[in-house]
């Protein structure tokens, strides 16, 4: 369980995340949605201790992220931010292998090699495993980063815009994979997503943020409603039920 309490972050005079108190249950897929600048990424960065908070606390299964050693947290929680500029020339396999670092400190055993091969296989990268990251397309690179995070094999997996750079096929593949990680491996997956239809189709819970605060939260079915979404995004959004799934239509 991830509990944030009164988490606040300001840059100068603008408060990006304003006293957010949230409880994210263990297990399942939770999506954080909301307009640009709502503070979604900042919140995710603070939960994963990549960014310090001005006020408030975050605990993960009772561990205070700002007090627990980084090494212990690295075996509980993994985080991938968006826009990763990697200058190091590493192969896909090298990169994914580093996902085992919190356990191995660099010395891989047979068990680690299984994890690495599986993660590369899940993300459909086996044929590319010997390639350098700078020889891949943006989408392939994004999948390699996600493979590394999955290879870290943590209970909590936090991903900021994991669908960045992915085409339709791989975006859907990614969401199915995360769904499977939650359902079959018992992982807790927390995502920042822009596409509300992906959020609707694949997540259990949705947290909507606006102006640095939680505007609404609840089970996906209750969140994908015209009144809720229109209020959050300040635009006209219609919701249709297609094949048992709630699909938002906001074009035109």
């Amino acid at each position: 369980m991830i509990i944030t309490s009164e988490v606040t972050k300001s840059y100068g005079t603008s408060c990006v995340v304003d006293g957010v108190s949230l409880t994210l249950p263990k297990g399942g897929v939770t999506s954080i949605i909301g307009p640009n600048g709502a503070g979604k990424s900042t919140l995710l960065s603070m939960v994963s201790r990549l960014m310090s908070m001005d006020r408030g606390t975050v605990t993960i299964d009772g561990l205070d992220v700002s007090k627990t050693s980084g090494d212990v947290l690295a075996r509980r929680l993994s985080i991938l931010r968006q826009d990763n500029h990697m200058t190091a020339r590493l192969t896909v396999e090298d990169l994914v292998s580093f996902g085992r670092y919190p356990y191995t400190k660099g010395r891989l055993n047979a068990d680690d090699r299984v994890h690495i091969a599986n993660a590369i296989g899940y993300l459909d990268l086996t044929a590319l495993s010997g390639r350098f990251l700078d020889e891949l397309s943006g989408g392939q690179r994004q999948r390699a980063f996600v493979a590394m995070v999955l290879c870290q094999d943590t209970d909590y997996v936090l991903l900021d815009e994991p669908l960045n750079n992915l085409d339709m096929k791989h975006a859907m593949g990614m969401m199915r994979l995360l769904r499977k990680a939650a359902d079959e491996l018992g992982k807790t997956v927390v995502l920042v997503l822009h596409d509300i239809n992906f959020a609707s189709w694949y997540s259990d819970h949705i947290v909507a943020m606006k102006h640095g605060k939680v505007a609404a939260q609840g089970p996906a079915k209750q969140m994908i409603r015209p009144d809720v979404l229109s209020g959050i995004y300040e635009m006209d959004i219609k919701v249709h039920e297609i094949g048992g799934q709630l699909i938002s239509v906001y074009y035109g």
């Binding site: 931010r81 200058t87 192969t91 580093f98 660099g106 700078d134 995070v149």
Partner: protein
């Protein structure tokens, strides 16, 4: 692994050639059969062996310090002479020479290393304020910082009539290496070993602060470790043989092109490549105007600038990250 052993053997061959070049005539058969002129044997052990060892130690250590620098700064074009490190080491050495001329060389080296550490930390600090982390802007900032520190050093060297010493530190030269005047370079080997031991941590730091934190490492601590390696190596080389430009750029970049940036794999290659490159340059420098010598920094500078230009042009065609 096999190619690495071949490279090591090639380096040993170069080292052997290096041992038997010089005015005083010592040949391998004569040395082994014990029929060599005793004076020549003395020259061999007092001058030739220390010189070849110094070349190997300084070459590998400088190449490693360039590699570490490039990984932690995440820029292909930084090395101790494009980041203010070498100039800071020279300033430190000058300060300790002025204020405590009687100190042993070891103590002077430590002061020099501390200055190098401070100068490099200042460089990283300045980089935080450079809005555009342009690939070529980073080494330019370093060269400018080095210029400022170098100017201060020159001013005081001039005032204290130490210009001749300063020149000796700034222009790397192996001709003055004798037994008793190169042993500090073993600390360079220590730096190489330290880089190999911490290879995984440094590679992780090279992936950036977010990835490092995610994998449970303390980013600042790893950066400090890298800076300590670079500073010690720079100070040791400066104090014992003088600065050698470009070396820390060329060798790691060539290795990175061929086998990537995973330091667990690249450290042995960079160390051997650095030693082989400087051995070759040193042999050329001693043969071109035999029996006179061209300083190593000139030979490395000439060959290095051509390789560097080639790399720059190549990176324009290749990836945006260089």
């Amino acid at each position: 692994m096999r190619t690495l052993i071949l490279a090591a053997i090639a380096t040993l061959v170069l080292a052997t050639i290096s041992l038997f070049i010089g005015v005083s005539d010592v040949s391998l058969p004569a040395l082994l059969s014990g029929t060599a002129d005793p004076r020549a044997v003395e020259v061999f052990f007092i001058s030739r062996v220390p010189r070849t060892l110094a070349v190997i130690l300084a070459g590998s250590a400088l190449a490693i310090s360039g590699l570490v620098m490039q990984i932690i700064v995440r820029n292909r074009f930084v090395e101790p002479s494009t980041s203010g490190t070498m100039e800071s080491a020279a300033l430190g050495f000058l300060v300790v020479t002025i204020f405590a001329p009687g100190w042993p060389l070891m103590a002077k080296m430590v002061v020099s290393a501390l200055f190098a550490l401070g100068g490099t930390a200042l460089f990283l600090r300045i980089l935080r304020y450079v809005p555009l982390r342009d690939v070529l802007l980073v080494p330019l900032v370093g060269i400018m910082l080095g210029g400022v520190i170098g100017a201060v050093t020159t001013f005081f060297a001039y005032r204290f009539e130490l210009m001749a010493s300063l020149l000796a530190w700034e222009v790397g030269d192996f001709s003055g290496v004798l037994r008793g005047r190169f042993e500090l370079l073993w600390f360079g080997l220590a730096g190489t070993i330290l880089a190999y031991i911490s290879a995984d941590r440094l590679t992780v730091a090279g992936m950036g602060e977010d990835f490092t934190t995610n994998l449970g490492l303390n980013y600042k601590a790893v950066m400090t470790l890298g800076l300590v390696i670079v500073s010690i190596v720079s100070a040791v080389v400066l104090v014992s043989v003088g600065a050698i430009p470009f070396l820390g750029l060329i060798v790691p970049n060539v290795v990175s092109l061929l086998i990537g940036d995973n330091m667990r794999r690249t450290v042995p290659w960079v160390a051997i490549g650095g030693a082989a490159f400087v051995l070759a340059c040193d042999i050329i420098g001693r043969l071109v105007r035999f029996p006179y010598e061209i300083p190593i920094s000139v030979v490395v500078g000439v060959i290095g600038s051509f390789v560097f230009l080639y790399m720059l042009l190549r990176s324009k065609r290749g990836t945006a990250n260089g």
